[in-house]
Chain length 340, copies 4
Amino acid sequence: MTRDGTLGVAVIGTGRMGSDHVRRIDEVISDARVAAVVDIDGERAKAAARRVDGCAAYTDAAAAMADDGVDAVLIASPGPAHEAALLEAFARDLPVLCEKPLTPDAASALRVVRAEARLGHRRAQVGFMRRYDARFRQLKAVLDAGVLGRPLMLHCVHRNVATGPGFTSTMTISDSVVHEIDATRWLLGQEIIAVTVLRPTPSAVAPEGLSDPQLVLFETAGGAVVDVEIFVNCGFGYQVRCEAVGEHGTARAGDDDGLYVNAAGRWGGEIPQDYVVRFADAYDREVQAWVDATRRGEVTGPSAWDGYAAAAVCEAGVCAQATGERTTVTLAPRPALYGG
Amino acid sequence: MTRDGTLGVAVIGTGRMGSDHVRRIDEVISDARVAAVVDIDGERAKAAARRVDGCAAYTDAAAAMADDGVDAVLIASPGPAHEAALLEAFARDLPVLCEKPLTPDAASALRVVRAEARLGHRRAQVGFMRRYDARFRQLKAVLDAGVLGRPLMLHCVHRNVATGPGFTSTMTISDSVVHEIDATRWLLGQEIIAVTVLRPTPSAVAPEGLSDPQLVLFETAGGAVVDVEIFVNCGFGYQVRCEAVGEHGTARAGDDDGLYVNAAGRWGGEIPQDYVVRFADAYDREVQAWVDATRRGEVTGPSAWDGYAAAAVCEAGVCAQATGERTTVTLAPRPALYGG
Amino acid sequence: MTRDGTLGVAVIGTGRMGSDHVRRIDEVISDARVAAVVDIDGERAKAAARRVDGCAAYTDAAAAMADDGVDAVLIASPGPAHEAALLEAFARDLPVLCEKPLTPDAASALRVVRAEARLGHRRAQVGFMRRYDARFRQLKAVLDAGVLGRPLMLHCVHRNVATGPGFTSTMTISDSVVHEIDATRWLLGQEIIAVTVLRPTPSAVAPEGLSDPQLVLFETAGGAVVDVEIFVNCGFGYQVRCEAVGEHGTARAGDDDGLYVNAAGRWGGEIPQDYVVRFADAYDREVQAWVDATRRGEVTGPSAWDGYAAAAVCEAGVCAQATGERTTVTLAPRPALYGG
Amino acid sequence: MTRDGTLGVAVIGTGRMGSDHVRRIDEVISDARVAAVVDIDGERAKAAARRVDGCAAYTDAAAAMADDGVDAVLIASPGPAHEAALLEAFARDLPVLCEKPLTPDAASALRVVRAEARLGHRRAQVGFMRRYDARFRQLKAVLDAGVLGRPLMLHCVHRNVATGPGFTSTMTISDSVVHEIDATRWLLGQEIIAVTVLRPTPSAVAPEGLSDPQLVLFETAGGAVVDVEIFVNCGFGYQVRCEAVGEHGTARAGDDDGLYVNAAGRWGGEIPQDYVVRFADAYDREVQAWVDATRRGEVTGPSAWDGYAAAAVCEAGVCAQATGERTTVTLAPRPALYGG
């Protein structure tokens, strides 16, 4: 909390997500500034740094973390680089906001969990931004208030307009459904114990070889059942929906917000084409909440354990997808640091 | 109630509305049959009669009413022909369902009212079909149940795709807003005492010389205020909407029923293009209710008085439209037959 | 088609459904009359007959079918009595509308199918009334028109307020989900080839021993996947919803029709409490369509084969429910009469 | 733009609105800090100042504006104090965000306009926060893009749960409808030239003597017609709605956002009870936009002219309310500074 009381953040990675976070911290977020940017491509790092007053450019994450002006770290580099950056931040006892996934697999995620547990206090928050979406927060509040009674089911829908080149069936789980995995764990407060995947004949619009759409099923430790339609080439828009079914009623987040238009024989409205539009406010709230908590010396968001548990469910999901069988999820014991 | 217990109906007029009623009675309505059709064009009458088993063709309404098989009369001829047909039916004490308007002006409507009052019992029902629409009936039920407290305002919208040739600004009142006039009187159970019309610069899409859209305002005897958007060349669909504002809440009929579709970047659904589609069920219910009541020897629907009152408000509306001034409505004393 | 051209119907069974059909044919349906009612309880039969002009009372279905005034048969007796009544009607070559289920199990349903196949022409229609619901028909039309491309998934919800005494987990499949089984086969035009059932920890509101809610999954011959939430003690209302997901978009029938009300801090509307309210129009249309087709000498609705196929899927569903395993459906060869 | 590059703001008035802005600038807004607070009640000023690091307390607005740390002024004191504070800020050439109303009447507002015109450049922004609401901005964008063609009508609804003590019929115009006045001018880009007010028999729930609800009508220079339901004791929630009717379609902002809940026989959702909830984001965006523009040396929001024009329409509205007559609006010539 140096210089004028604002939080100096090192942003690691200046790709799409990293650049967006640089802009966000610079323009939107209160009480924080971009103190440093890191990219293995030095020119890209310098270009990003130039856009922000008093921002330093680095090609090495550890060097950036050693910068005097850096009070906290935001990791937005590719997944395989996360583990090293997290461990470095732990070594320096710096607070970290790490974009999802925590790491690319459960084994490495567990190493991060254990490193933080050895540290003895939480330092890492994982970027599951749905927890900061206004609608999802209302849904969580309704569930927690017990208005609907005990939750029995969740019906989830996750649709993207289209996938880019190189997107695989495995990534539908680890890149897309991972959000529903976290949302399920968060909304219900229960671990996922089994995953099943049903694969309809793929849409002719999906790239050759991609299983799309799919129906993914979770069973939770508390006996709830969750179904997820994941459809990453739906063509018509970006849509995220979640209906919780409880003993006394249901509540649904998602769908049809926005301006209501009558024109050309149709009533209705526009569907956003993109998660950046749909979740713009959620990203803003997420980073602001992290900055605020960090300045108070607290860590409040999704934990490294949440990142590890999501990774473990993803691995079971990928296995379930390949075999067509119900696949159980095995989690390591939960360290006391995370309420184990 | 001759022949096999079904009601023999003479349908007068075989234009769009008359033909539709012939089809309806023949195919949809229970316990009624088309006994006779009347058209001043004899060939058209014969053509219509040929489509129905045992149906006679006439060019003269009185002759049709004298037919042995005729138990009741449905008037769907042009407005100027209504008065004579109604008086003939009264002379024969035959039940009548008369398409709106009862007659083209208040003076002739009042003659009909007085003729029926002299008869001493109700014989005529006017075809204000909104009273038979499921949504409007729900709205009426909510108002009558007092759920919203005393009604204070109605916000009405009445939109047509486009007008045919010869449609005039006067007709926007007498042909279109007449439905809101009746709906207001029926929903609130109050007479309309004043009308004001505001005329925005017309839409470029409206035919030259037609004032379209307009905002029509009613004040009622009970102190309620009603606004009506009438827009007969809205281009995008046929829409009828009514929101009642009461002391404790509001209720709205209309809008966005039907299938909910996500496609091509939009959520929403289809708007019907036509009152025949939107009010198909209402017409069916109206005629069935008339047949059922008639067979029980009752008259239950909108009365000749309702037809007269609507005509009187229309005349005030046309005057208000021409002058731009608030125009009061003067009604003749209400005969005892109609609860006066 | 005796007496005055109307169809004389013998209604077999005068319980809740049978009485409702007697009222419907008597009051709502055009061109049909209740010629006879049958109930093994003679007093009940007489009481039902007394309410309709010229209606005879019987305790024996075969005797009623022999009545001169009877042109067609509507079976609304308990399921175990259906087979005998159907075979009797076939023997007399009488058209039949048989309430669902066709018969209580696949073996008996297959006997009915084979009997009708031997007859050489269709005589039986099964009472899957959703095919006559305006919303489901719109959904079918959109799918058939190819607007959404090939259908990939259906998301279905089927909720009842509460179950009566004696309702079992098996009945959630055979009495409730049977509607989604028929809707799936009809909407997609494909047979169901496998069923899986997931059972969350039951709602505390459900009767002891009843698995409620459940998630039922179908796989179809064309590679589509269908999920059904069946929740027969949801407490808050009767709700039926179906969203079809196609290659180019989705379309949803169900949900939130009706009057829109603002009151007491909430926007929204009322949920019907009962299928009789929700599907009143569908029952009317179903029976009218059957009467109309029958008078034309045709059979157009869901066939005995549809009844058999639904029974076979139900049996697989009950097995899947008991074992927790994916269970395949085996159908007998489809007779040529049904397009086999 | 002293101290660490953030904008030092003096907040004048520490009542409900002022305190909320102090919290907002302190916690939410990026690149600004509360440098000083002013309240004629010195204890209240000190209490407010204590909650913010490095914030000075004043009882005199001019003294606060002379504070070295003050770069800009936010006026949230009662309306009668606005003129003096605005003129003082102009004298010091300080940027001002002035809560609505600019001043309590058109004459004083015109003095402010002329003072700023003499200054030769814009310094003041008026707090019409609807221009910063996401939905209203979408509506404006759709209108500006010409999607609906030329706008012909606006249908507006403005409902509050209940009024506090001392709220008068005049205030329904000057405190409540003033928002629709600004929204109309902004959305249509046209001046309002006439006002008419219709007053239904008041709701029994409204305080004795208060005309509530009312229907307020505007006519604009471009020939559009606007109706506004103002209902400040509607009892059920805070609701703001605006439907624009254009030549090719309509678009509606408002209504039924938020979580969709099925429970207890009803579908729907919660209505916010309060403008603070409904427009929380709009206030945040408004102040952030003001801070950002100010730091760039620009003034971008609603101008003093907008404040004056709204005041002039309010005066005509109050007159129309009293007389029941259509009342024309007369505006002074628009200074060149405001595009006159």
